[in-house]
């Protein structure tokens, strides 16, 4: 899957499901501090990633992910592995 498609899917669910402000979405945006994603949103993200990308997020894999760009990269690596 191409990265642009991954971006589109991720951005869409952040805006539609997590109700993130579209203006705040950028590669450098911090998931927690800039986008306001909290622990419960994270469950949504885990569920949606499973549905859209077909893999399960492991907690240890998420521990180093701080920015949206890192999150896109993480999904790209998992999907294209």
């Amino acid at each position: 899957m191409e990265k642009s498609k991954i971006r589109e899917i991720v951005n869409n669910f952040l805006i539609e499901e997590i109700e993130v402000d579209p203006k705040g979405i950028s590669d450098e945006a911090l998931l927690k501090d800039d986008l306001g994603i909290d622990s419960l949103d994270f469950v949504d993200i885990v569920v949606i990633v499973e549905q859209h990308f077909g893999f399960k997020i492991k907690p240890e894999e998420m521990s180093g992910i701080r920015t949206l760009s890192q999150f896109y990269d993480y999904i790209e690596n998992k999907v294209n592995a």
Binding site: E19, D38, S39, L40, F42, V43, D44, K58, P59
Partner: protein, 295 residues
């Protein structure tokens, strides 16, 4: 009157020495001895814990009742009594309480089913005792707890409740508890969460509760919505003569009528609040949130 703080700070009163002492005491004496002591202690508690006193007075005022010392005394006494019952059970005492149930078959059906579900708990009655009194063999119940309680209480609680297939999931900063919760529900197990105290997440919904607006945490309802599992409200209410009455109430809404998990969670929360009001109509003295609950 303005109350200083609306949010629960995440700790339960009482130090580890007191908790240890209570469990030691109840290994040697009947819990009713504790009740007699409690009757003498409650007036001092009312006198010195003004914040709790005002919060309960506020609660009764919302019920349309004027200030009444006897009513507040009864609330505090019942709270103490139910705490003692909890320690009495945790001490491993053999004496049993009488247990009655309403709609418990709904809970039992969920237990018998293959899927996971969420239990919505509250501080009306003694939710924790429900986990002890509802014996079941099939599913493991994961109880989400906040880290503020003393280690001795957590350890004893875990030890006693493990016999009923109840395990603790402490809320952690690294969000690992959410993976545990999700895995439990995915595996057809049960997760129980308090639904009347905000802690660990800022997500909440404003609901009309006893005629005024109050903020309820969305956590349990969001999980039920996100993972598409049932949610059941469970209450353990104390009645006379060492009796606990367990209530299981289905919390449900038409999940297809609104879009998105947050909207579904909001509807579930409003349904739950109505059930909470219903229980408190039957047991008006058993509301045990000793902080300013309303906005």
């Amino acid at each position: 009157m303005v109350l200083e703080r609306r949010e629960w700070k995440g700790t339960t009163g009482g130090g580890s020495f007191g908790q240890k002492a209570l469990m030691w005491l109840f290994r040697h004496v009947d819990v009713r001895f504790g009740y007699a002591l409690l009757a003498c202690v409650v007036p001092f508690y009312m006198l010195f814990n003004r914040k709790g006193y005002r919060a309960i007075n506020d609660y009764f005022r919302n019920r349309g009742l004027k200030h009444n010392l006897g009513r507040i005394y009864r609330n505090h006494y019942l709270f103490g009594q139910m705490m003692m019952d909890r320690f009495f059970l945790f001490s491993g005492s053999k004496q049993h309480f009488t247990v009655k149930g309403t709609n418990v078959e709904y809970f039992n059906n969920l237990i018998a089913s293959e899927g996971g579900f969420v239990i919505a708990g509250s501080h009306a009655g003694n939710f924790e005792i429900a986990g002890y009194l509802m014996h079941q063999e099939k599913k493991r119940i994961h109880s989400v707890v906040f880290g503020g309680e003393t280690a001795i209480l957590q350890a004893n609680r875990a030890k006693i409740l493990s016999g009923n297939r109840v395990e603790m999931i402490p809320v952690s900063d690294d969000m690992s508890h959410l993976f545990t919760i999700k895995a439990a529900l995915d595996n057809g197990q049960v997760v129980s969460m308090p639904c009347d105290r905000k802690f660990g997440s800022s997500k909440s919904v404003s609901c009309q509760f006893l005629g005024r607006t109050a903020s309820f945490p969305l956590g349990a309802f969001l999980l039920a919505a996100q993972l598409n599992v049932p949610i059941v409200a469970l209450f353990a209410m104390r009645e006379k003569r060492m009796t606990y009455h367990l209530y299981a109430m289905q919390v449900e809404t038409d999940r297809t009528a609104v879009k998105g998990s947050k909207a579904v969670a909001g509807e579930l929360a409003r349904e739950y609040v109505q059930q909470l009001e219903h229980i408190l109509d039957i047991y008006p003295h058993q509301w045990f949130n000793f902080f300013n609950f309303w906005e």
